[in-house]
């Protein structure tokens, strides 16, 4: 049964209030104004007063406009027909093709029972050594790329989308610049990956409330695909915009802000989305890789901070590289003992040595005399950055591990690395690989970075 109200009492920000008895919390309504129809969702009921957030914004809505309550919650189409399509934040097509109105599913879903979850065990290979070797991406993981505006995070994201071995990719874009949207779409199209992708795109020009729906739509669809046995990778960029949209609505609703204006439930809001990452035993899985831009590279900002506590790690993308410090995949220990026996020890040792290199670099910058050990570290650091960290490097895990041993052998003696003796005996390169590019300097790697877009 549809209820209709034709008196809007309050319009404030993107939230309107009408008098409507008997409507359900969470129900969807259609607001018809001279600008066209827009969906709205009930976010608070107070006696007869019903508050709705209007997806397309409140501009142009008149107090005399008609609000039709639809009697159901937000829904989205689900079938194989979604593949290759592009939608906006309310599920309408963005690609000029017909809309899909049958076979609708609820966007809000239930929580997965924790006892039905299983220990993650399958690695997703991406061909990026800083991911595969140092912080492996694991099926059913939720992980975020922490970065700052201006870094090539969308490039990295789309590269993962192209190279990761999954069945279906779902891209949720929030507050995207239009050219970023085109870049993402065209890259997927050019490499033929669009046919196994679904895109839900909210651009910076679209109404802010629609941004809030993007993760929910993407994840609802992903969950269904996973229950049908598909391995789904959900890419969300940029979650900072999602949080800002949350903040906007919370402030309009006069919620007490907790930290820098963000609502107190930011953690729970993010968690209920990210927790959709799951591996359904004997069925498919949902893996979430998101982007979180940090204002001013500040990891203590509420958005990256709360995200970090929810996700199972983060890739810290800075200076156009994934830094080993600050990056962490919390699930890697489930997979990297099944890759190769030396994987874990080698990874830890290389990162520890890289930390020493950073100290030494600092010392050098202050003009101290370099000891022979310091010089070894400097050489190691440069090789490490050039051969493994550079974003353009593309190699399977096995090659990356071998290259790791190669770098160690070029720079250190066998007993200097702190690696277990049996591993050293087995993997230390037998003959010394000639140090190609011993005097590689920073300029070299910078140059290489400039060339990177071609590689992508």
């Amino acid at each position: 049964m549809r209820r209709i109200s034709d008196k809007i009492i309050q319009i404030s920000g993107n939230v309107i209030m009408v008098l409507a008895p008997g409507v359900k919390y969470g129900e969807l309504a259609l607001v018809s104004s001279e600008r066209g129809d827009s969906f709205a969702e009930i976010i608070r009921i107070e006696e007869e007063r019903v508050y709705l957030q209007v997806f397309s914004g409140s501009i142009g809505i008149s107090t005399g406009d008609k609000v039709t309550f639809l009697g159901h919650e937000m829904r989205v189409h689900f079938s194989k027909n979604l593949l290759g399509r592009v939608f906006d934040g309310t599920g309408r097509p963005r690609d000029g093709r017909p809309s899909l109105n049958e076979n609708l599913i609820q966007v809000s879903g239930s929580t997965v029972n924790p006892v039905k979850r299983i220990i993650p065990s399958r690695m997703i290979h991406t061909g990026i050594p800083m991911i595969d070797m140092f912080n492996s991406l694991v099926e059913s993981q939720k992980i975020s790329i922490f970065t700052t505006p201006g870094e090539p995070y969308n490039e990295l994201l789309v590269r993962v989308a192209l190279q990761a071995k999954v069945d279906i990719t779902i891209l949720g874009g929030m507050g995207l610049r239009y050219d970023d949207y085109l870049f993402l779409k065209n890259t997927l199209e050019r490499d033929g990956a669009l046919s196994r992708s679904v895109l839900f795109i909210h651009t910076a020009a679209d109404p802010v409330v629609e941004c809030l729906m993007v993760p929910d739509l993407s994840l609802a669809v992903a969950e269904r695909f996973a229950l049908n046995g598909e391995r789904v990778l959900v890419l969300l960029t940029d979650m900072k915009n999602f949080c800002d949209a949350l903040k906007e609505i919370a402030i309009i609703m006069e919620h007490v802000p907790s930290n820098r204006g963000y609502p107190g439930d930011l953690y729970s809001q993010l968690a209920s989305r990210y927790e959709k990452a799951v591996d359904f035993e004997d069925f498919g899985s949902v893996t979430i890789l998101s982007v979180t831009t940090m204002p001013g590279d500040d990891i203590t900002h509420p958005v990256p901070d709360n995200t970090g506590y929810i996700t199972e790690g983060q890739y810290y993308l800075t200076n156009k590289r994934i830094e080993p410090f600050g990056s962490l995949s919390r699930l890697k220990q489930f997979v990297n003992e099944n890759t190769r026996e030396d994987h874990r020890s080698l990874m830890d040792t290389m990162v520890q040595l890289y930390a020493f290199y950073q100290d030494t670099k600092e010392k050098k910058a202050m003009g101290f005399r370099m000891s022979s050990w310091d010089n070894k570290l400097l050489k190691y650091g440069n090789l490490f950055e050039r051969d493994l960290m550079d974003l353009s490097v593309n190699m399977p895990l096995k090659d990356a591990l071998d290259r790791g041993w190669g770098i160690l052998a070029e720079c250190f003696e066998r007993e200097e690395t702190g690696l277990r003796t049996e591993l050293v005996n087995k993997f230390w390169p037998k003959e010394m690989i000639l140090c190609h590019g011993e005097d590689q300097t920073y300029q070299d790697s910078t140059e290489k970075r400039k060339r990177q877009p071609e590689a992508l």
Binding site: P21, G22, V23, K24, Y25, G26, R44, I45, E46, E47, E73, S108, G109, S110, V112, N113, P114, V115, K116, R117, I118, P120, H255, V256, S258, N259, P263, G264, D265, Y267, S268, A271, S272, E275, F280, I299, T300, P302, D305, N306, G308, Y309, E312, G313, L328, R330, L331, Q333, E337, D348, A355, K363, M366, F368, S371, S372, E415, G418, R420, T421
Partner: protein, 634 residues
Amino acid sequence: MKLDSNSENHKKKRWGMIVGIDKNMITVQFKGTLKQNEVGYAVLKGCRLKSEVIRIMGDKADLQVFEETRGLKRGDLVEFTDELLSVELGPGLLGRVFDGLQNPLNELVEKGGFFLPRGTYLTALPDDVRWIFTPRVRPGDSVEAADIIGTVPESIFIHKIMVPFYLSGRYQVIDIAEPGTYRKNEQIALLKDGRGGRIPLSMSFQWPIKIPVSLYRERLDPVEPLITRIRIIDTFFPVAKGGTYCIPGPFGAGKTVLQQITSRNAEVNVVIIAACGERAGEVVETIREFPRVTDPVTGKSLMERTIIICNTSSMPLAARESSVYTAVTLGEYYRQMGLHVLLLADSTSRWAQAMRERSGRLEEIPGEEAFPAYLESIVANLYERAGLVSLKDGTMGSVTICGTVSPAGGNFEEPVTQATLKVVGAFHGLSRERSDARRYPAIDPLESWSNYRGIIDIDTRNRILKLISRANEIDQMMKVVGEEGISLDDYLLYLQGNFIDSVYLQQNAFDRVDSATSSERQIKVFSLLMDILDTPLSVKNKEEARTYFGKLRQIFLDYNSSSEGSVEFHENERRIKDIVVEHQGDTSQVGKTSLRSVLVESDLDSHFRRSTSMKATGNGSLTIQKEEDEKDIR
């Protein structure tokens, strides 16, 4: 205080009507009387949503709903129960996985498959299990609350069946069941109160989670160390049975891994894990692995001594708040049986945030960072439910509480960390620096402290901590003046500090042997370490010193991962001693100087002290020192 729910059943059902809905909070209009924290059920087509009264104003009450409120509307009915939010206590709790309201999650799978069905509540204890009951009292005996009337075997323990905690005064046993098998709801005893009223007892009863169980003779000073088999904890920052401690740390510093290791290795009878508002993935490992891991002490699976209360981040918020109380109540129940219980709550920050969200929705005046003003007293109340107690029958039991704290931005100045620090006996601060450098467990030896007695005497403990702190200062100094700018003595101290750090403080959680070090082995290895440090060293220059410690470290790491008593264990131990003897100096100049300088507080101390350092001083009180310039951990 009368808490018996059974006697209230004859009362008429009371109803209220929903007049407002805001997220998980509903406003209900009611007639007659209503209790604060009473449980009500919002009736939605096909299911009932459990909720709790959190504020009463006139004829309206605010209730927090333990479920999603989608679909509710104005005018829907709420049924009040007159009961406070309670848990069921009795045999059959061990080895189980519950949500924050004590719903058994494994049993919910049958109802909801992969997902948690909304508005479905099951009884916590299995109805159909038959327990082998042995009576401990006879008709005519006089009993009171928490007295043992019989026993049943439950997995690894003899579970004591007690007189319900809510009965006050003395009662006479009229009838007691014969030895035999009974289900939890069958009557096993009949009591008579002073006025001749008869009270039938079964093996289980309800207890409200927010009220502490205090039916013991006296609360004692926690003196006995609780061995976690984590070296840095047991040796340097020990925890006591019945004590409290907290683990604050920025994300990614390894809080959860540390708790997981503790839940495996801690030498206690029962471990209760409260996964409160954290990732579901983190409990999965425990749920899946524990049944397959054998506990060396009992010879049975680890799961049989474990209870998991699991209210992860995407599960209903209000139940997150109650999950911690549910966990501690179960802990107190087992303590009444004379057992030692360890409660691991991960994370108390999420728990506090749940209170913050509720407080915000109630439009209370916010305190610091929008946390409610009563945050501190609530945190204190929770930790005060820990304790070592002597029971009426003379046995001892304890509840030890460990809470992780997830400070926003890794900044320990935030309200939850500060409220927690005031009420705990040990502080294991995790640092991002250490975890970035892969120095696990990332407990910062410079910032952590413990007021409990451990397996190593306090003077030795402090001496080594001082050495580590001094080594850190020298490290900082070297960053300014360079390696060549410091003396060989100082450089040796720096190397010694680093050496202790890498071979003793750090522990490889993934190594079969190294992941758990028994207290005996800790004492042995620690004394070997002390021998090494006390042996005067003859090295000519820094290069030589570095090589010496490098070599020593390599063998020591192999030593740590060789199982005690094995051939390689002895071999490695011999090699370590050989190297030390090889480099022993006949003039003990160097060694002496190093030790002396450790004990002399240097002027540089204050300059290079870390941002917020808290250390236990000799008399056990705390000194807190802050420096303005380096507030954030980052």
